[in-house]
């Protein structure tokens, strides 16, 4: 198995403009736990950077640094080329960075529409009151556009199914994402159809000129939409690769020792017919 060597300095997409977001050798320590060590990545406007890696590799920690939830311990974090230390998620939002977190998503006791607009409520009138009618309407429309049919936007988020909740979070981030969109495993809880919709959203956001950071375990989701791939392993970076430098197969095996997987396929089924499930007809959305 040949592992491609990462492009030493990430090649800017098409301009000499500084990247939207960039980290240089950032790290993060929680008490005695070293979650992240010396990770560098770039995100350009109009591009998708995928972050890949095993469970516990530090992906969520990295994006929480990007989103201002955690302060980084070492290295540098640059937004538009100038080093920053974000004081909190509010600052990130103010710089146009919207995020869907894996574990910090919604307020369970609040209704769907209230959650949807939380932190960016539309106001109206001289008293600057919360424009409830508009909020409900927009929330319903955005969700419908995404193919999620919520029964009732007044339902508390805590009673939604896992995937419905995830969809609401994504729809929110897409709606408010100004310049950069960070998605932490957005498709993991989604059905085939909904996952396809999310991938399409990502592509559309990219085409609109946003930069997207996309975390996933599924190389079949990552490869088609990604322009750049950052692979993490046990808190350190295995490098960032431009799409031109890496094939899907290389990416897959970089993520998870390929040989082992071939072996697994033989083990699973009892009937011989099932052991090597031939390539399915479906596109990336189905995987």
């Amino acid at each position: 198995m040949t592992v491609p060597s990462p492009s030493p300095s990430p090649s800017p997409a098409d301009s000499s403009a500084p990247p939207l977001l960039e980290t240089r050798e950032v790290g993060k320590v929680f008490g005695s736990v070293i979650a992240l060590r010396g990770v560098s990545m770039v995100l350009h406007a109009g591009e998708v950077t995928c972050v890949l890696g095993d469970n516990g590799a530090g992906k969520s920690t990295l994006i929480k640094i990007l989103a201002g939830v955690h302060a980084h311990d070492g290295g540098e974090y640059l937004v538009d080329g100038s080093p920053v230390r974000l004081g909190g998620p509010r600052e990130a939002l103010d710089r146009g960075i919207a995020t869907v977190y894996q574990d910090l998503a919604m307020i369970p006791l609040m209704s769907v529409w209230r959650n949807f607009f939380l932190g960016s409520e539309p106001v109206t009138g001289p008293l600057r009151r919360f424009d409830v009618a508009r909020a409900k309407r927009v929330a319903r429309e955005e969700l419908r556009d995404m193919g999620i049919d919520i029964r009732d936007v007044d339902q508390p988020v805590g009673t939604l199914s896992g995937g419905e909740r995830q969809s609401v979070a994504i729809a929110r981030a897409v709606h408010f994402g100004a310049r950069a969109l960070i998605l932490d495993e957005p498709t993991s809880a989604l059905g085939v159809k909904q996952a396809g919709v999310v991938l399409r959203y990502i592509a559309r956001a990219r085409d609109r000129g946003l930069g997207v950071v996309f975390i996933t375990h599924n190389p079949h989701h990552a490869y088609p939409v990604g322009d750049r791939f950052l692979v993490l392993n046990r808190g350190t970076s295995l490098g960032q690769f431009a799409k031109a430098d890496i094939t899907r197969e290389e990416l897959t095996s970089l993520m998870a020792g390929g040989a082992e997987l071939d072996h697994l396929a033989h083990e699973l089924g009892r009937a011989a017919a099932d052991t090597t499930p031939g390539p399915a007809s479906a596109g990336p959305g189905t995987t």
Binding site: P89, L93, Y101, I107, L118, S120, R129, F130, P156
Partner: protein, 344 residues
């Protein structure tokens, strides 16, 4: 309001059921039960005179309960609110009687320490990340000491009085502590203040950004922060709101009694919390309503006075009060559960 076609996965929900799902309307049932019970026990209780009587304590309790409910929805407690009503009253009466200030001015001056203490409470909670239970317990004790110590130092006694003779007393009293005669019965003005405060709080909760943020930080502060809700500012604001309510109630009490004791308000802090909880606020935050807290205050006020109207033995007063509260909240929660099976 909205004309979306009904989803086939929604069972028909009767209007009644829909109404009952609202947290307030659950507690209304408790209130009605308590009212019906005591009305059957005492004719005076249900007379206009009697109603005016038990609405009066319910009103000051209600103002505080609403403010505390906002704070509790935002996920925090304030144990110092009760003593603070005493502090503001003491400041006002002392300034008006010992330093000859006009009552209106003295009252406004009372707002200054109230806001300062509210701000301090909030800041300490936000900065130290200690539970607000502990922080406000600290200010609760310290304020008790200040109330007593300063009052003694200035007046040599444990109470200040004589507000009646101060400038502007009559006007201030009419606005805050007077009565309005409706159909031959005197109703306290405080009742109208109570209604106004409840309406305002409901509007803020349901129809403003701040309201959305209050629910959010009480429901999950981390998640709210992550979407950019300025949690620290909202919390400090809530503590200051509570302090403002304490100032209002403290002023009403001082004007009504024309004197204030150094230990005024001690022990009330829990009654406020009790009223809010009876009205459906969760102790863990993120859920509740201002109207509910008001009704909680009403239930408490009715039970508290109803026992006296019913003429039951004073030695057993607390026994009946406890029983009534338990039954009222039980009725309330049974109704709510019936209507609300959906919400886990």
């Amino acid at each position: 309001m909205t004309s979306v076609p009904a989803d086939e996965r929604l069972a028909g929900a009767g209007v009644l059921r829909r109404l009952l799902v609202r947290p307030e309307l659950g507690s209304v049932v408790g209130a009605v039960a308590v009212f019906a019970f005591f009305s059957s026990q005492s004719a005076v209780f249900r007379s206009a005179d009697g109603v005016a009587n038990w609405l009066d304590p319910a009103s000051t309790l209600g103002i505080m309960a609403v403010a505390i409910a906002l704070l509790m929805i935002g996920g925090e407690f304030d144990l110092s609110a009760g003593v603070l009503t005493g502090t503001t009253g003491l400041v006002m009466v002392t300034l008006a009687t010992r330093f000859g200030w006009n009552v209106w001015l003295a009252m406004l001056a009372g707002l200054v320490p109230a806001l300062a203490i509210g701000f301090l409470n909030g800041l300490l909670v936000v900065r130290t990340k200690l539970p607000s239970f502990i922080v406000t317990l600290g200010t609760f004790l310290m304020l008790q000491g200040l109330n007593l110590g300063i009052t003694k130092a200035i007046t040599g006694t444990v109470q200040v009085g004589g507000l009646r003779r101060a400038d502007g007393y009559e006007g201030a009293r009419a606005v805050l502590a007077g009565s309005v005669t409706v159909g031959g019965v005197d109703f306290r003005v405080a009742i109208f203040w109570w209604l106004a405060v409840t309406a305002l709080a409901t509007w803020v909760l349901m129809r403003t950004r701040a309201g959305n943020w209050i629910f959010a930080i009480g429901g999950d502060e981390q998640a709210a922060r992550a979407v950019g809700v300025p949690a620290a500012r909202v919390k400090i604001g809530l503590f200051m709101t509570t302090a403002t309510a304490a100032w209002l109630v403290g002023s009403i009490m001082a004007l009504r009694l024309s004197s204030v004791q150094a230990n005024a308000g001690i022990g009330q802090e829990f009654i406020y919390i009790i009223a809010a909880v009876i009205g459906g606020c969760l102790l863990t935050g993120g859920y509740g309503s201002a109207v509910g807290a008001s009704i909680g205050a009403l239930i408490f006020g009715m039970a508290d006075k109803g026992i006296v109207f019913a003429g039951w033995d004073a030695d057993w007063f607390k026994f009946f009060l406890g029983g009534m509260l338990l039954l009222a909240t039980l009725a309330n929660s049974l109704v709510r559960r019936y209507a609300e099976e959906a919400r886990r």
